[in-house]
């Protein structure tokens, strides 16, 4: 019995210690960010590997999700003779939920894991200590550019995901299933509000991007400097980001759309 309490205690202490280290780490990243103004090139390199290389995955996934939504939505709506509302269904579900959430999950798998593995390996092969020896701050040189690039990329990717999804829904709904094109767009425009829906979706994707970037760089920096440690940290990045994004999504949705 006492052993059980001891286990519980030690694991909670470990959890809080980790959260505390994560918080302190975030503060250090923030204090390193201003130095990037004089060296934007570092961020551009990271934007390329984090954002541009994720773009293909996001665009194709968005198109597919939109096409599936179009098919499924049509099959349900046609029973009620309401297939003209297909545009509205596709647009609202993508802009409010699927765009930010699915893009964040894909982003964690595509870019977050790569960031963790890269930083973790730098630590394991003592490149980070080497930089410190040369009086180069790895926070400014390695961590902060990656963090900022991920924070910038995520909202852009989520927006692309939603836009591609709506196009996919349009191709399937109007091109394949014969929904009227005018009704598709006008029903959508009638029901989707710029501030209420699109801006809130954008806020969601910014929050998710922040969390995904934080988890990815922290896990990499905090990884045990061994092969196994890096592999565990990479797994943890994907798992924790998925939990954090889905949990935050519920909270944000309740705050934004809960009391309409």
């Amino acid at each position: 019995m006492i052993d059980w309490f001891q286990k519980l205690g030690s694991s909670s202490l470990a959890l809080f210690e980790r959260l505390g280290r994560g918080g302190l780490f975030l503060m250090r990243v923030f204090s390193a960010i201003p130095s990037l103004v004089s060296r934007p090139r570092l961020v551009i390199i990271q934007l390329y590997s984090v954002g541009v290389l994720s773009m293909m995955l996001i665009v194709i996934s968005g198109l597919n999700v939109g096409m599936v939504l179009g098919l499924q939505g049509y099959n349900t709506l046609v029973d009620f003779g309401a297939e003209e509302s297909l545009g509205q269904v596709v647009a609202l579900s993508l802009v409010r939920e699927l765009g930010p959430v699915v893009a964040a999950l894909l982003f964690a798998g595509r870019a977050g894991s790569a960031l963790t593995a890269e930083i973790g390996l730098m630590k394991a092969t003592e490149q980070l200590s080497g930089m410190e020896m040369m009086a180069v701050d790895p926070m400014k040189r390695v961590i902060a550019p990656r963090f900022i690039a991920a924070v910038i990329s995520m909202p852009l990717l989520a927006t692309m995901f939603s836009a591609m999804g709506i196009l996919g829904g349009y191709f399937v709904g109007v091109g394949l299933l014969g929904v009227d094109s005018g009704a598709f767009w006008s029903q959508m425009q009638g029901k989707v509000d710029f501030y209420e829906d699109i801006m809130n979706g954008l806020v969601k994707s910014i929050v998710f991007g922040f969390v995904a970037a934080w988890i990815a760089v922290f896990e990499g920096y905090d990884a045990a400097p061994t092969t196994e440690g890096v592999s565990r940290a990479t797994t943890r990045t994907v798992v924790h980001t998925a939990f954090a994004v889905l949990g935050l999504d519920f909270i944000l949705t309740a705050l934004m759309f809960g009391s309409v």
Binding site: G51, A91, L156, M160, S162, A163, I166, W185, V192, I198
Partner: protein, 166 residues
């Protein structure tokens, strides 16, 4: 290692595509291009029963949307629903005796307010009130009334000969 220039071009394209997607969402998907709620003028209307009218429901004239329902509140004094309509300011040419009725899009669709302009010379002012209103069409009530009338007709017919005989 990729050329510095290609890399920068790729990042530029990435950011541009992201922003273009946002512009597409704003212009093509949302209502930002058609109507903004800010520049509208407000008129009020009182209804005995608004049925299922919600805030942000469309306000139409001749089937064309010219505004939205801004607020729906209950008025303690007149025991009626007080509806505030926000109408785009370019459509401020509505006569004073315009009538408002709550209609349903399709049989089971959402409810909206249809305005029918009257023939008065004076125009509705911002903050004015639409006096002629027609309550929502409530299907259950109609069905109930119809059945009641049918029943009344039935008894009326059976009674009619007796009443006519003496």
């Amino acid at each position: 290692m990729i050329q510095k220039r290609t890399q920068e071009i790729a990042v530029g394209v990435f950011v541009a595509v992201g922003l273009a997607a946002l512009v597409m969402l704003a212009m093509k998907v949302s209502n930002l291009s058609s109507l903004s709620d800010q520049d509208g003028f407000e008129v009020i209307a009182r209804f005995e029963d608004i049925g299922g009218l919600k805030e942000r429901a469309p306000v139409t004239v001749a089937g064309v949307r010219i505004g939205r329902v801004k607020t729906v509140v209950y008025d303690d004094k007149s025991y009626e629903a007080l509806v505030t309509l926000s109408i785009a300011s370019k459509h401020n040419q509505l006569p004073e005796d315009t009538s408002a009725s709550i209609l349903t899009a399709g049989l089971l669709g959402e409810q909206y307010i249809a305005l029918e302009p009257g023939g008065a010379e004076t125009m509705l002012k911002p903050g004015g009130e639409i006096k002629l209103t027609e309550s929502a069409f409530i299907l259950e009530r109609m069905v109930g009334r119809f059945l009641f009338n049918k029943a009344a007709e039935g008894t009326g017919e059976s009674k009619a000969p007796e009443g006519a005989a003496p």
